[in-house]
Structures are given as structure tokens and as C-alpha cells.
Amino acid sequence: MKVEQISIFIENKSGRLAEITRILGENGINIRALSLADTSDFGILRLIVNDVERANHVLKGKGFTVNKTEVVAVEVPDRPGGLGAILQTLDTESINVEYMYAFVEHCGGNAVIIFRFDETDKAINVLKANNFSVLAGERLYSM
């Protein structure tokens, strides 16, 4: 029930993001979701892609620092209060969110939220026990 995300370290200088997307594009890798966290000196690009291994391989080959982390994808109804209900549940169960980002499915009426937790397994159990729809990686990669 976990989703593999790749994260890439990028210095804050022009053209780095374009470089990464170009490499991925040339290798036929499709980005499903992304988030860019930035500081004044560097950024971390987090990606969900359709082919994690290949993306990891080609980016490393180009000298980028890449790591893989397990995140959790949760489907929420795309309506007011949808995200709030999940966060409330996590808070009640004392599960800390390291970071999160969202994307809206382009078909169907749901949004997908990507969460990074400290305790991934515990979080998945809690979410499932509360009837939230946790998406499998395969489903996400092929969306």
C-alpha cells in the first residue's frame, strides 16, 4: 500500500528543473505528481513517476543525488472538508505528517493526497481502519 517517491537534490540555480524534466521526458518517463520544496540555497524535487526504477537510474546517471522514499497516497473526495477529515483522524491518532502535497485526478471526482509520515505502516493502518482509500503504487503510477 505504499507508494515509491523519488526525491532529487537541486541547487537553486537556473535551469536545473528544466534539465531534470528534459532527462525524464527523453527517457519516456511520465510524471504523475510532483512537489518542490525550496530554501534559499537548495531545493528538493519530489516526484511520483510511472517508472520509478528507470527514473532513478537515468537521473543518477546524470550525476543527480536521488533517493527513494515510501509515501502514502490517499484518495479523498474532491469537495470541501475532504482533506480536513483525514488530517483530523491523523491528529487524533498522533501521527505526524512530515510533508504532503496534493493532485486532482483528471478523471473521476477524487483528489489524491501524497503524505510522508515518520511511521508509514502505522499511518496506513490508521487510515484504512478509518475507511480512507489508500491507493496502491501501481494504481498511481498508471493513472
Partner: protein, 433 residues
């Protein structure tokens, strides 16, 4: 104006005769009292009696900073600790500092040479000397302090830091002579100007600046902004501290090295052979009057040249030129000696950090800045910002704790730092000296 006219203007033949006599005594003394020197002279097949002329000094082995470190803390002392009245240590700390001890006589010599230096710079009895060199293990503060007292001037032992207060004291106390690093003087000038204080209204007449390299252009800037005559002073703790050599205010062209106490040589750092006068090379100094820790042919690593041409001021002592570099990779950042290898060993000590780094030294607002670039590889990379930020902070803190200098750690992508076949470029020094 001389502090000790007889010795400062001693005709060269008499000066050289005095040097030889003192050299013979010191060589005898270290051979008898310091096992390191006995070994090193024995290995070179030399006895103290082999010093028959000043030229014979060239046959003797060098003493290096490493020799001093290996002898930490008291191994090179030639006087028993009961006779040592003061201990200083250099800031260069690859693990251990270099420790120097002074007997009462050494303190008196140092005070006199500092007093001579003040006088050569144009200071005299009645001056109010604002001493903003740091007091402590660093020799700058106390060296200048004792010299100022010996001169008979009034010394304000303010030490470094707290710039606003420094400026207030200079205004209120009527300081006439300022001693500090050249970069700090410019920093003060800017702080003062920001506070609406005009340095031209202060009573400062002379600035005696040392402990870091500076340029003729910087002298111009300091003189214009602080409205004083800026004098370059040279010293190093291993040899004595400040006051080994100083420019005279009459010529401001080369620093007179007090030859009745030190024998200077300029060598080719690669071959160790002596170079002709005027050629650039490494300054080597033999102390000929020190009691606590006399050093024979100490390699200072400072690059300069020497001239024995007479000076308009009448002093007969040779002049060394403004230091124009180092024969090793030591950096002087805000007056602190830093070797890239020290930073490397700190980085390697931090788990996961690869020793691929680049030091960028610059000068902003007249203060030295240090940026430490560290490559982020998979070992330290995290998808969480806070973990990387903690890493930067940790690098900054450890460098501050060990070396005492503030730096900015910057995480960079791998392979962005130059890899070369031979020696990697570890330092980019953007400062202009």
C-alpha cells in the same frame, strides 16, 4: 625618533658581529637543553662550535610548525617551567595548538621590541593607545599592551569586539593610536559612519595594523576613512608575537625586522636554499635572544622578499616586504589561521559527509567571509528539508567550535566541485590583498 637608538641604528658590521655572538650562544643553548635540537643537529652532523660565521647558519636544519606540534606542549622549551612566566598559543589548530613560553627576560625583550615598533610607527609617550587586538592566548593583545606600557603611553586594553563601545571610547577617551586588524579598522569606520560619527573628528593619528595580509589599496582606503596614518606590523607567536617587524612612518616601505634579536633569511620553499636579496621566497627566522623557546631557522611559510638597503629613517635593520602569500595552504580568516585540512577533518567527522568540499573566502563589508560548500550525495541526502538544514547548521557549529570562525555551510549538487587529477582546488580566495 628611536626607542633604542644605539641598537636600532647599529652600523651593519657591529650588528652582524652581535648577531654572530648571539647565534653562537643560542645554538649552544638549544643543543644543551632541547633534545629535539640535539637530535636534529647530530643528524646533520653539526656541533654548536660549527657556527663560525653567520653564513654557517645555512647548514643548520629548519624548524617547522609540525616540529612544534610534535613537541606539544613544552617539548621545545629551552628554559625550565619555573622560569616561564607566560604561555601563549597560536590559533592554528590542526588538533593541537603550538605553544610558546616566555621567561621574564623574553617578556622584557618583547615589550622593548613592541615599544620600538610603536615608536617607529610614530607613536610616543603621551599617546593614548586603543588596543583592539584580542587579549588571551593570542599574542596580539598582550604583546601590544606591554609594548605600549614600555613606551610610556597610556594603553586602553579594550580587546576586540563590541564595536559601538569601541567607537564611544575612542571618542570620549581621545584615543590617538589604534591597534587592530586592518579589516576590523574598516569595519569600525563603517559602523561609525552608520551611527553618524565622523572619524575625522576623532583624535586618531596612527593605526598599527597586522595579523592578516592587506594591500596598499586597503591602506589607502583605511587612511581615507579613518583619517590616520596606517602602518603595517608583522609578527607570529612562534617567533614572539607582534613586533617582529614594522614599517617606519618615515618610509612606509618595507618592515624593519629587529635584527639584533632575529636573523631573517629568504629561502626557496621548494629547495630550502637561500635566495638573493630582493627575490620572493619564504621567510625563515632564527631567534637569537629568546630564552623560553628559541627557534633555529623557523619556517614561517610567509612569502616575502628582503632588502638591506639603507632606509631614510636611519634604522640599519633589514626590511621585509609586505607579505604576499603563503608557501602552504594556510588561510588567514579574520586573523585566525585556518588550514583547509582542518575543515576537511571536521567534515569527515560528520557522519555521511564526503570530503568533497570547497572553501570560498571573500571579504564583504571589509570583513572576511567563509562559505563551505559541501556536496550532497546519497549518504546525506534526505527528502526532508529540515534534515538538510540541520546538517548545514551542524557543519557551521562544528567549524565554529573547533576553529572559532563563523562560516556559512552551503549544500551543493555532487560533482559540481572540481575534481582534478592532481591536487583538487579546495579554496577560492576572492579577497584582494
Amino acid at each position: 625618533m628611536y626607542f633604542n637608538e644605539e641598537f636600532e641604528t647599529l652600523p651593519r658590521p657591529a650588528l652582524e658581529a652581535l648577531q654572530l655572538k648571539r647565534l653562537q650562544v643560542v645554538v649552544e643553548r638549544v643543543y644543551a637543553n632541547v633534545p629535539f635540537y640535539k637530535d636534529s643537529f647530530d643528524r646533520a652532523g653539526l656541533k654548536p662550535a660549527d657556527v663560525r660565521s653567520l653564513d654557517d647558519l645555512q647548514r643548520f636544519p629548519f624548524t617547522t610548525k609540525q616540529n612544534m606540534r610534535d613537541s606539544y606542549p613544552y617539548g621545545l622549551f629551552a628554559a625550565p617551567l619555573e622560569e616561564v612566566v607566560r604561555i601563549h598559543a597560536s590559533s592554528g589548530t590542526t588538533g593541537k595548538p603550538t605553544v610558546v613560553g616566555y621567561t621574564q627576560k623574553d617578556i622584557e625583550t618583547w615589550s622593548e621590541l613592541m615599544a620600538r615598533s610603536f615608536m617607529a610607527a610614530g607613536a610616543h609617550r603621551g599617546d593614548i593607545i586603543h588596543n583592539a587586538y584580542g587579549y588571551g592566548l593570542f599574542t596580539g593583545g598582550l604583546g601590544a599592551h606591554y609594548g605600549a606600557e614600555r613606551l610610556g603611553a597610556s594603553v586602553i586594553p579594550i580587546s576586540g569586539g563590541n564595536t559601538k563601545r569601541q567607537i564611544m571610547i575612542m571618542q570620549d577617551f581621545g584615543s590617538t593610536v589604534l591597534t587592530c586588524t586592518p579589516s576590523y579598522s574598516l569595519f569600525m569606520a563603517e559602523e561609525a559612519s552608520a551611527a553618524g560619527i565622523d572619524f575625522k573628528k576623532l583624535k586618531l593619528r596612527i593605526g598599527i595594523f597586522g595579523a592578516e595580509p592587506w594591500s596598499e589599496a586597503m591602506r589607502g582606503e583605511i587612511e581615507a576613512k579613518l583619517n590616520l596614518s596606517a602602518i603595517d606590523i608583522y609578527g607570529l607567536s612562534e617567533i614572539m608575537g607582534p613586533g617582529v617587524a614594522i614599517e617606519c612612518i618615515e618610509a612606509k616601505k618595507g618592515l624593519h625586522i629587529w635584527e639584533d634579536h632575529f636573523i631573517p633569511e629568504i629561502i626557496d620553499p621548494a629547495t630550502g636554499l637561500r635566495l638573493p636579496d630582493g627575490e620572493l621566497g619564504e621567510l625563515v627566522i632564527t631567534t637569537i635572544t629568546k630564552q623560553g623557546i628559541p627557534l633555529i631557522r623557523y619556517r614561517t611559510r610567509d612569502i616575502t622578499s628582503i632588502t638591506y638597503e639603507p632606509c631614510v629613517c636611519g634604522r640599519t635593520h633589514a626590511r621585509i616586504n609586505r607579505m604576499c602569500g603563503r608557501s602552504d595552504d594556510m588561510l588567514i580568516i579574520r586573523g585566525v589561521n585556518v588550514f583547509p585540512s582542518q575543515i576537511e577533518s571536521i567534515l569527515v567527522g560528520i557522519e555521511g559527509v564526503e570530503p568533497h568540499y570547497l572553501l570560498i573566502v571573500d571579504r564583504k563589508d571589509n570583513l572576511d567571509t567563509l562559505e563551505v560548500h559541501v556536496e550532497v550525495d546519497e549518504g546525506i541526502f534526505s527528502d526532508e528539508i529540515k534534515i538538510l538544514q540541520l546538517l548545514s547548521k551542524r557543519i557551521e557549529k562544528e567549524i565554529k567550535d573547533v576553529l572559532g570562525i563563523t562560516c556559512t555551510a552551503k549544500l551543493v549538487e555532487p560533482k559540481t566541485l572540481q575534481r582534478s587529477e592532481g591536487k583538487a582546488t579546495r579554496v577560492i580566495d576572492k579577497r584582494k590583498f
